[in-house]
């Protein structure tokens, strides 16, 4: 139902979004994954008609939004990355205003406010001023405000940055429910792998303005089907040993941490023998070895040579 076609945005000398083609089907939950500065927010601004593309197009139900953004705006609920609320007002007052913008009034307005407050679990604190809320609660109102006009498609730009785990779980659960139980179409942007893995049917991975991979979680992980990740923990730090292990022939990538090491190796490579041999030689004690199935994080690492949080 929603499609972007070679969407491109150029700011003076940065190519923020480069030839991005996405598609959202009805009822789907799609993740847009990418590190800081990948161009996620810029892409979303263009999709939601707030920013004109340098080239390319955005279509809703087959109609371009460039000439008439009205159709898109009616369908879309946008949860911005920054909290966009009147913080000197209460949650209730904020929602009332955003509802009125869409022509809601009277009983219908009150009902809708009640519904979205329930949805984000803030009914009993609706009279408090937004500025007195915790970061997590503000995020929840930020979502609620985008839900006032019963949108068909919900676009969220990193709705969970900087909030406590409890609020985060609540928010993720809310989104999952909206998608599963109410059939809402969701585009979810994040640089947290776990969230996207948990929430989304399909994923686009963006880096430096480009979509570098797309598909269902399984399809993406299949990229790594010929790989394994071995995670080794030691009793203490052994920089020299870690360096040595990283340089073993066949190791494709190494991620060194304080007392542990993550090595990406081809499936079937016989690493363990040399691992224990080297550890013995350095007098190091291996406390834990774990062979992992690949995560999206590993996919990103493989595709870009960097971790998402770099």
């Amino acid at each position: 139902m929603l499609k972007t076609d070679k969407l491109t945005k150029k700011f003076k000398d940065t190519l923020a979004v480069d030839n991005v083609s996405l598609e959202l089907r009805k009822g789907e939950s799609v993740g847009l994954l990418g590190p800081n500065g990948a161009g996620k927010s810029t892409a979303i601004a263009m999709i939601s008609t707030l920013l004109k593309p340098s080239s390319g197009d955005v279509r809703i139900h087959g109609k371009s939004v460039l000439k008439d953004p009205g159709d898109m705006r009616r369908v879309l609920g946008v949860v911005p990355q920054k909290i966009a609320l009147y913080e000197e007002l209460s949650a209730y007052e904020n929602l009332k205003f955003f509802g009125r913008l869409y022509g809601l009034s009277g009983k219908k307005l009150e009902q809708r406010i009640g519904y979205v407050l329930d949805l984000v679990g803030l009914s009993d604190r609706k009279k408090e001023l937004v500025k007195h809320y915790s970061g997590g609660m503000q995020r929840r109102v930020n979502l609620a405000a985008a839900m006032m006009h019963e949108p068909e498609v919900l676009i969220m730009d990193e709705p969970t940055v900087g909030i406590d785990p409890q609020s985060r779980n609540h928010l993720l659960e809310t989104i999952r429910r909206l998608n599963h139980e109410e059939g809402m179409t969701v585009l979810y942007t994040s640089h947290y792998m776990e969230e996207v893995e948990k929430l989304c049917d399909r994923v686009y991975i963006m880096d430096r303005g480009k979509v570098i991979a797309e598909g269902t979680k399984e399809e993406l992980k299949a990229i790594l089907s010929d790989q394994e990740t071995v995670w080794i923990e030691f009793d203490q730090s052994y920089p020299e040993l870690f360096k040595k292990l990283s340089e073993i022939e066949g190791v494709q990538h190494a991620d060194v941490e304080e007392r542990s090491l993550k090595l990406m190796i081809p499936k079937g490579m016989r690493l363990l023998a040399s691992l224990f041999h080297e550890a013995e030689r350095h007098g190091a004690q291996v406390t834990n070895v774990h062979v992992q199935t690949p995560t999206l994080e590993d996919v990103f690492l493989r595709l870009t040579g960097r971790t998402l949080r770099d």
Binding site: S48, T49, L50, K52, R73, R74, L76, V78, P80, K82, I83, A84, L85, Y86, E88, L89, E93, F97, F98, R100, L101, Y102, G103, L129, A145, A146, H149
Partner: protein
Amino acid sequence: MKAVFLLQWRRFYRQPLLVLAMFVLTIIFVSVSAAGGEEEPVFVPVYTESLKQEQVLEWVERLNAEKQFAFKWMQPSEARSYVAEGDVPQAVELMEADYRLLVGREDPARLALDSMLRRVYSEELRLEDAAQEVPEIRELMDSALSDPALQLSAASLQGKGEADKLQLLFGMTLFFVIYTIMFSLVRIVDEKRTGTWNRMILSPVRKWQMYLGHLSFSFLIGFSQIALIFLLFRYAFGFEMGDRFWLLLAIAACYTFSIVALGLMIISLIAKPQQLSAVIPIVATGMAMVGGAFWPIELVTNEILLTVSKVLPITYGLEALTSVAVYGNGLQSVMMPLAMLLGFGGICMAIAIRLLEWRSVS
């Protein structure tokens, strides 16, 4: 638009401090300065070594007519001891066609005293010269003064203190309301920064309705501030403002419109909140100084400043208010300043709209 307008009142209700501060500051400044203006005139001893009693009395009466100082005739020895003991900074010795200051210590008022004495003396001497040729000149002068050709001089002669107080009230009111209006318009910039503006853009509400909601709030809050202050000073403090109060309100409305438009133009030029909070006080204070809100515009002699004042709304606002409240003029006589205010507002608005549209396209 209604939703946007009503929201601003809600926000005002939650955060009224800034506007109330401007309101209270106006009242404090006006009442403190107006009270200061009613101080007793400074006492100045007068003595003579050469003049006759009736001549001295005539001079003292003439000098006291100026109301600036209180001159009192006394014996030379008494006057000298006043000065010698430091009770007064100076005394005046009157002579036939001249005067002398007996100075005890430095005094900031001396310059004013000296220039006033010089003026009264030279006027009097000129009159005496003229009387040599036309003996009845004094009678002519007196009858001319009691039956003036111009209403203006009559009004300003009888109520000089009142006029000063009104000038002060109008100046301060028009000055402080600039802050109220402009800071309420800064909310537009803030909304663009926090993202609530984008939320509105995504809603069915049109952009012009969003602006209109903000502008009408800023207009109303500014106008209410002026109207309330005028009402307060008229009824609670007993300021005499003439019988055309409705016309004063009409002028206030035109002035408010021009400042709202100016504010919109400024925020269309400067988009950063921090820069705005520096620019607004500069604009407000600069306009008020040059436009005559802090002191009568008649005191400004610099050509450049006078020319600049001709394009400032505050100049015309003050001119129109003074004309109606002090000189009792009607709508006819303030048409020109009102037209200037509306024209100024219209131009600013046009520029602002062009700039704002232009920016939203890029």
